[in-house]
């Protein structure tokens, strides 16, 4: 803002002299005693600032204090001493994980690869599914049939991870001398997709099947619910667009290509970018509940690696270092995805 003479001086006609503008005096005072005025504003509006306090405390204690514990990555782990008193060890854990050459670093790289692959396959198979569902939902004109279908497909989303994984475990469980195998294993066997021995040994004990089970259960759980956002975008398309296309002689496929797809493209792009942003950020709970020692090869992700060595074992510093690398890369991915989303469509997650 450009300074104006009238901001500083006002001509007092009665006395015939120039006087300082009282508003400018207030502005000067604010500038000179900034912190006093901040305190005054807060004191005057104390109720508003009091409302912030619970939230700030919750986040400070249980989101930011753990970040302080991350110092343990650079220190010699000790069961008794708090992190501040532990001996400094530099980047030794990071070195050991990245270029250690022993089984630990092989395991870490394997976990990092699995983390990436599980989300990447999710991107390939799990991502298109809700879009396809939404397109099909749109074809059903009967409201009753459509909402019944929708309600049924949302249903698995309401089940907890524990219930979901328990069901999966039971449906593909191994057979033994006295009991048969799970019903899905049986079905797969009778369809000729897996051999009897493989099915009977339990599909969850077989590393070759873990990724498939993870993705299929993911689609079962989430595809219906995720289709809501695409369906909302499709029904927002004006019916006149379809009519115009029909008059121009567009068949069903052409309408899909030239009306529906452009209509939901921005939603797809946003969801895709968000998904790419969270490539290294996968829920550990589901993996933890589905994997076992036999399937570490394909199932172990960085969080479960950290859980095994840090929470079950005692290598806290090492485990924290592994997860921190994962989370830092993940954060960078999310930030760049978000920036791209903001540029691409004015919509962003934050």
């Amino acid at each position: 803002m450009k300074a104006n003479a009238a901001d500083f001086l006002i001509y007092d006609e009665a006395a015939g002299v120039y006087r300082a503008n009282p508003e400018q005096l207030v502005r000067d005072d604010v500038e000179k005693h900034q912190w006093k005025h901040v305190a005054l504003t807060i004191a005057k509006d104390w109720r508003l600032y009091l409302m912030l306090v619970p939230m700030l405390l919750v986040f400070l204690f249980w989101r930011y204090l753990p970040m302080y514990e991350l110092l343990g990555c650079f220190k010699v782990s000790d069961e008794v001493k708090p992190v501040a008193d532990q001996l400094f060890s530099g980047f030794s854990y990071f070195k050991r994980l990245l270029v250690g050459g022993d089984s630990m670093s092989t395991e870490f790289w394997r976990a990092l690869r699995n983390t990436f692959l599980l989300s990447f396959y999710g991107l390939c198979f799990g991502f298109p599914m809700p879009i396809i569902l939404a397109l099909f939902f749109n074809e059903i004109r009967s409201n009753l049939v459509r909402s019944t279908c929708q309600v049924l497909t949302y249903l698995p989303k309401f089940m907890s991870t524990v219930i979901m994984t328990s069901l999966v475990t039971m449906l593909v469980k191994q057979g033994s001398l006295t009991t048969g195998m799970g019903i899905i294993s049986q079905a797969l066997h009778s369809l000729g997709l897996v051999s009897y021995d493989v099915a009977n040994a339990g599909l969850l004990n077989n590393p070759d099947f873990f990724r498939a089970i993870y993705q299929i259960s993911g689609i079962w759980e989430g595809a219906g619910y995720d289709s809501i956002v695409y369906f909302a975008a499709i029904i927002a398309i004006s019916p006149t667009s379809y009519e115009a296309a029909q008059i121009d002689g567009a068949g069903k496929m052409a309408q899909m290509r030239y009306v529906v797809l452009p209509g939901i493209l921005s939603t797809i792009v946003i969801m895709l970018i968000t998904r790419i942003g969270s490539l290294l950020n996968i829920g550990y709970e589901k993996v933890l509940l589905l994997y076992n020692t036999n399937t570490y090869v394909t199932a172990d992700v960085v969080s479960t690696f950290a859980q095994r060595y840090g929470l079950q074992g005692s290598q806290k510093g090492l485990a924290a270092a592994a997860e921190m690398m994962n989370n830092v890369i993940s954060m960078l991915l999310v930030i760049s995805a978000n920036t791209i989303a903001r540029k691409a469509s004015d919509t962003s997650l934050y």
């Binding site: 249980w62 514990e69 279908c149 009991t179 799970g182 079962w220 069903k252 929470l311 004015d346």
Partner: protein, 296 residues
């Protein structure tokens, strides 16, 4: 021309009806199977003779569970965690979201960043675990020995939900607030009498999100609650699953129902309450998704 149009449309319709019915039934089937398997006879379940309908119906597996005090204990613990956890989280989130929605709030950008950063970066399991252990020690020193309170107070806060509330509060026209202030209302009264009634549906959605995450909470409850009497339902189910799917532990099993039936009965029992309230909360759930893509 007209003829061709109708054909392609028909084909597409047939495909979508078939695909959707298959998918919807596939979503439903595991639950139906769980119900059937929980009330079928031991031999039928163990040898995979139950496909859709129950066979040799028995209710012993349910009876066994209903007579198990630990089961009811776990259920009441889950209700406790869900009820108090949701109230606490809503209290913190509504107050915080309201304050953040005010343009006149000093350091507003900083507070927003403070919140959003926790969505971008998390310290990870190990630091979180150490932090909860410390919290537990502090709580114990304060005389709170019941670990359920640790789970209620320390866990389950989500920055995303606060942002949803903030955006809803920002949507309320400021004239209404000004009118209330002219009438002599304090900040708390404005929030209670104006903002909360006006943003009822967003608050319901957020409450639902909190409640569901509380009801479903497993990992930290298992890590932090040491007394097995205080375990919530999810932990109870998981522990039973681990026990009952261990073939060696089950060699002496000699009941008319299969050990699997007990697990299925447990699963059914934990799903039923959700199914009962599902029709009522379904629309809020769908609403929350649409509010997810927020602008700043």
């Amino acid at each position: 021309m007209k003829r061709k149009l109708e054909t392609s449309e028909m084909i597409f319709k047939v495909i979508s009806y078939t695909f959707l019915s298959i998918f919807a039934l596939a979503c439903l089937y595991p639950f139906l199977y769980a119900v059937s398997a929980s009330i079928s006879g031991g031999h039928a379940v163990d040898y995979g003779e139950v496909v859709l309908f129950p066979k040799d119906v028995q209710f012993e597996a349910f009876a066994r569970m209903f007579n198990d005090n630990m089961f009811w204990n776990a259920y009441s613990n889950t209700l406790f965690l869900t009820f108090y956890g949701t109230i606490w989280a809503l209290f913190v989130a509504i107050l915080g979201g309201y304050a953040l929605s005010k343009k006149r709030l000093l350091f507003r950008r900083f507070f927003n960043f403070f919140l959003v950063f926790t969505m971008l970066f998390s310290a990870g399991l190990v630091p979180q675990y150490l932090n909860y252990l410390d919290t537990k020690a502090v709580f114990n020193a304060m005389g709170i020995t019941d670990d359920k309170w640790l789970v209620v107070i320390a866990m389950g806060m989500a920055a995303m939900n606060i942002i949803l509330l903030r955006n809803a509060f920002e949507g309320v026209p400021s004239e209404i607030e000004e009118a209330a202030i002219v009438d002599g209302a304090t900040e708390f009264q404005v929030l209670k009498k104006v903002y909360i009634p006006m943003c009822k549906s967003t608050i319901a959605t957020v409450a639902l999100f909190f409640a569901i995450s509380r009801w479903n909470g497993y990992f930290w409850a298992r890590q932090m609650i040491s007394n097995s009497n205080e375990h919530p339902l999810q932990v109870f189910i998981r522990l039973r699953l681990e026990e009952f799917t261990d073939p060696e532990a089950m060699t002496g099993w000699n009941e008319i129902y299969s050990s699997d039936s007990v697990i299925y009965a447990l699963i059914v029992c934990s799903i039923v309450p959700i199914l009962i309230i599902y029709p009522f909360i379904q629309k809020y759930f769908a609403k929350g998704v649409n509010a997810g893509g927020v602008k700043e």
